[in-house]
């Protein structure tokens, strides 16, 4: 009826390719089904979004937020999150336990590999350690310290034989990597730009989703999920203390349904969170076998990230 | 009063009385317990050195400056406390303060409009006043398109058209050059006299004061030093300040010998000088005997006479100054004496020859030293 037609929820998430994909895969069918409109609020970076959301704490006009575990934890500390009523999520059972909690519901998994320019890079990159090759001096683009919630730092840690609670090796590797670092990007799109515009020849830590865009810039670009393992993580819904929580919950449930998950995954090359949903074949060439995937403990990282960032900057910055 | 009366110069001016007014800026007293009366239809010149409080006084009369003490009356009516726009005072500023965004006509009309004169009567009155000041031709020009003298006239017209009770002029001519100033002086006097408005003219140009005003008030550090006709002030200045401010003077420093028989005798390096007695001067008191350059004559032949002072001096210099020529002498004691002679009449004194200078006792003044 009329009342229903009026209903609208506001979803904060990434724009660009992601935004377009969500419109087709989710918003339109969802509105057809429930009559609830979904408005997308594009966000620059998750952390930027977090700051602005906290700023409007007492007059929150956003209902739902697709973000990462780190921001989720911080947002919860800031007290802007609602508990998600698991009972109302008919599709919840199809999610792995790791991907669902009081304040978060996983929406997709993404892996991080390397994108590079075949023509300018003198050798095919197969393993992470190739990034240290001196032939790549000044040619590697990497995310900044807190990019992807510091997962690149953790990755280097792993490569150096460390872990979340023993991160020192990361900085040793970073020191070796430094001469090769050409640019530090503050966001995905920036990373894409630097690679496609020839500012650097290699973009470390690149989700295949972005590679879709890179490929459009030319055939010379290549994507690999390097040896020995591939860092992966999931993004999640967070329910904000917004005006329209029930509708928002409805939408979460819809978005994690098999159908919706596959529709989206096809478009942005992610691994569906819903175990029922099939992995898109476009992703197949890049997707490593599950055993090579490694999921970091993001909540643990959140606590230590500031210190990591400081140490990281100390190693990387200045020249 | 109506246009007719004013323009026709019925001369029904208002008496202005400043009664013991004081004005302070912070703890600096710009006007100090000043009392001054201006007779109906009179033009009084307020003459004084820069910074002595002339403009401040004027502003007080206009109501642009609150007074801290005393009272100001127009006729019987007490006006201090009244806002400027309620006093019906006209003022011509040194800078003219014409409204740059209005034509001459609009400038003149402004006052009429503000005074609520019915529109249909504007044209008539504006024309009359523009004619009176010979600027009818400029009616549609803007202030920045006309000369200083013309702006002067417009400022005057703008003020007169509203027929103020009182007219204030703050150095109205100081912005003009000499030739023009000469013309405007007489012009202003004529116009104002014609309208018969009581006027107060501020200036630090003695000639202006003498030629335009009926009476002159010499002001010094916030006080009135002397008021009187130009002649009184020139010939009988009460203090050295006044004497110096209007015209030039020679001084022979010395001490009072004695007073009596209506005369005061002063001992100076150049000899004994006699002057009309000055009440309140005791024997031995250090004084200065002053006399104007133009009263000095050279008279080597003539015998000493009781009614004239006489000193020996030698001519040291002579400057032709047009109408008059100035001769500089030195007396015994190296005091310089200046004498003015008309340039055409030869002044009987040979260079560097000792000669006798003499001048009337009656034109000699004695001032207590350092007054």
């Amino acid at each position: 009826g009329g009342a229903e037609a009026q209903q609208k929820i506001v979803l904060q998430s990434w724009g660009g390719t992601w935004g377009d994909a969500m419109k087709e895969a989710w918003f339109e069918p969802f509105e057809k089904e429930t009559g609830i409109q979904v408005e997308l609020r594009p966000q620059g970076s998750m952390m930027d979004a977090l700051a602005k959301l906290v700023a409007q704490k007492d007059r929150m006009d956003v209902d739902l937020w697709i973000t990462g575990m780190t921001p989720t934890a911080l947002a919860d500390e800031a007290g802007i999150l609602e508990t998600i009523p698991r009972g109302k999520l008919t599709n919840a059972e199809h999610l792995p336990d790791a991907l669902i909690g009081d304040k978060y519901v996983g929406v997709w998994n993404t892996i991080y590999g390397v994108a590079y320019n075949k023509e300018t890079v003198p050798f095919p990159i197969t393993k992470w350690s190739d990034l240290l090759d001196e032939r790549l001096a000044g040619q590697v683009g990497i995310p900044h310290a807190t990019g992807y919630g510091g997962k690149f730092i953790l990755l280097l840690g792993w490569l150096g034989g460390g872990d979340v609670d023993n991160i020192d090796p990361a900085f040793e590797v970073a020191a070796q990597l430094k001469p090769n670092i050409g640019i530090i990007s503050k966001s995905d799109p920036e990373a894409i730009k630097f690679l496609t515009s020839g500012e650097v020849d290699v973009a470390a830590m690149m989700p295949p989703g972005n590679f879709v865009q890179i490929r459009e810039a030319g055939p010379q670009f290549e994507f690999v999920a390097p040896e020995p393992f591939v860092p992966a993580n999931f993004n999640n819904f967070a329910l904000l203390k917004g005006p329209n929580t029930e509708a928002a919950v409805k939408f979460i449930d819809f978005a994690i349904s098999k159908q919706a998950q596959e529709e989206l995954a096809r478009r942005v090359l992610v691994i569906p969170a819903n175990t029922q949903a099939a992995i898109p074949e476009e992703l197949a060439p890049f997707a490593p076998p599950p055993e090579r995937l490694r999921y970091p403990d993001e909540v643990a990282i959140t606590k230590v990230l500031p210190d990591w960032a400081e140490r990281w900057d100390r190693v990387i910055q200045g020249r | 009063m109506t246009a007719a009366t004013v323009m026709a110069g019925a001369g029904t001016g208002t008496r202005i009385r400043l009664d013991r007014i004081s004005i302070r800026y912070g703890d600096f007293t710009a006007v100090d317990d000043l009392t001054l009366a201006i007779e109906p239809g009179e033009i009084l010149a307020l003459l004084g050195a820069s910074g002595c409080g002339k403009t401040t006084t004027l502003k007080a009369v206009a109501g642009l400056q609150r007074i801290d003490d005393g009272e100001i009356r127009f006729g019987e009516r007490r006006v201090d406390g009244l806002a400027p726009h309620r006093r019906n005072v006209g003022m011509v500023f040194q800078s003219y303060a014409l409204f740059p965004h209005m034509t001459v006509t609009e400038n003149v009309r402004f006052g009429l409009a503000m005074h609520g004169v019915p529109r249909h009567r504007h044209g008539e009155r504006i024309r009359r006043v523009l004619d009176m000041l010979h600027i009818a031709a400029l009616a549609d020009s803007y202030p920045d398109q006309i000369s200083g003298g013309q702006q002067q006239r417009v400022a005057l017209a703008r003020t007169l058209v509203v027929e103020p009770l009182v007219l204030l002029l703050d150095e109205p001519l100081s912005a003009l050059d000499r030739q023009l100033r000469d013309v405007m002086r007489t012009e202003i006097r004529n116009v104002v006299k014609q309208t018969g408005i009581t006027s107060l003219l501020v200036t630090h140009d003695q000639e202006e004061a003498l030629t335009v005003a009926d009476r002159v008030a010499v002001m010094r550090a916030g006080r009135i030093e002397q008021v009187g006709s130009a002649r009184e002030i020139y010939e009988a200045p009460r203090t050295r300040y006044v004497a110096d401010f209007i015209g030039r003077m020679n001084y022979l420093p010395g001490r009072v010998l004695d007073q009596g028989g209506g005369v005061c005798r002063v001992e100076t390096a150049a000899g004994v000088i006699v002057a009309p007695a000055v009440p309140g001067l005791g024997a031995g008191q250090p004084v200065e005997a002053g006399f104007r350059p133009e009263v000095v004559r050279v008279d080597d032949a003539g015998a000493p006479r009781g009614d004239r002072n006489r000193v020996e001096a030698r001519l040291v210099g002579e400057t032709f100054a047009g109408v008059t020529t100035e001769y500089r002498f030195r007396t015994a004691g190296e005091v310089e004496i200046r004498a003015l002679g008309q340039s055409d009449a030869r002044f009987g004194a040979g260079a560097d020859r000792r000669s006798c200078l003499e001048w009337p006792v009656s034109r000699t003044l004695v001032f207590a030293a350092g007054a």
């Binding site: 970076s45 530090i184 900057d313 | -």
Partner: protein, 303 residues
């Protein structure tokens, strides 16, 4: 436009207040709206300072954050590095700007106005876009590198950007208009008789410049310098766009801490420090000038 010009001279001659008299309410009513607006800023700064006093977990007020910054050489680097870059940029701007400012006074009025107009256009055009222009000039694929490679001077494009140099260039080019206009402002007000008088006293043109023109234009250099220095010290856009993540200056550091690390207390503390540094600099320089301004022909404020 210079800061000292931001503050006008003594008031017009209508003094409306005198001891023993009730202060006139009019001026206070007039300034009320503006003060209300400014109250917003003052309030915000207070909140900021409060926030900066929070501990790590944000309980009892403490100077913990300031202590952290003071004790971390890395954090301090951001300040010193910014100061260093700003200083260099200011110096360069002065050295490059003076000839232009001086030249503008020697050419005819049309040319002078033309240059003035050009500077104004630069000044009125968007800061972000000016940085973009530099990217086009300095980037790996920018015209400079294209020229170098094309001319064979180098075989691989140089890194002219995304490092201190890039930021430095950015700061200088952003500063130049301010500096030129500030210096020219003083030179234009310089009494042309002074150089003439110097020449007639036997000073050759170089000496006239050295002994008269230059000393008398110091006020311009200083007022231009201080504003340029502060703008550079606080600049965010330039390091963000031309620093490539390597050049962290205070502003970007504050952003990183407050936004990307959501570490508001630390960011707030850094901001407070930056605030005080700026204020101290301003007050300091003005104070210095009040004392020794005479040497450069700065008149004492008359009563």
């Amino acid at each position: 436009m210079t800061l000292d010009q931001a503050l006008p001279g003594p008031a017009g001659d209508t003094v409306r207040r005198r001891p023993g008299r009730r202060p006139n309410p009019v001026p206070y009513l007039l300034v009320l709206p503006a003060l209300l607006l400014v109250a917003g800023l003052v309030g915000a700064l207070l909140v900021l300072s409060l926030r900066s006093l929070e501990g790590a977990q944000g309980q009892v007020p403490s100077l913990a954050q300031y202590a952290r910054i003071a004790t971390s050489p890395h954090y301090l680097d951001h300040f010193t590095h910014s100061a260093w870059l700003a200083g260099a940029a200011t110096l360069a701007a002065a050295v490059l700007g003076y000839p232009v400012a001086y030249y503008m006074e020697r050419v005819g009025r049309p040319m002078r106005r033309a240059i003035m107009a050009f500077l104004a256009v630069v000044f009125f055009s968007d800061y972000v876009l000016r940085m973009f222009g530099l990217i086009l000039v300095l980037g790996k694929t920018g015209i400079v590198n294209r020229l170098l490679v094309w001319s064979g001077a180098v075989d691989r494009p140089l890194s002219l950007m995304y490092n201190d140099f890039g930021v430095f260039v950015g700061l200088v080019s952003a500063s130049l208009p301010f500096m030129i206009l500030a210096i020219n402002g003083v030179l234009a007000r310089l009494d042309p008789r002074l150089p003439e008088a110097a020449a007639l006293l036997g000073a050759s043109p170089p000496r006239v410049f050295w002994h008269v023109t230059l000393p008398l234009s110091v006020p311009g250099i200083v007022s231009g310098g201080i504003i340029v220095f502060l703008l550079s010290l606080n600049s965010f856009v330039t390091p963000a766009l031309l620093g490539g993540g390597f050049v962290e200056m205070v502003a970007t550091f504050i952003y990183e801490q407050a936004i990307n690390l959501f570490n508001l207390p630390l960011g707030a503390a850094a901001a407070m420090i930056l605030f005080f540094v700026s204020m101290v600099l301003l007050v300091g320089v003005n104070g210095l000038f009040d004392r020794m301004g005479r040497r450069f022909g700065v008149r004492e404020e008359g009563r």
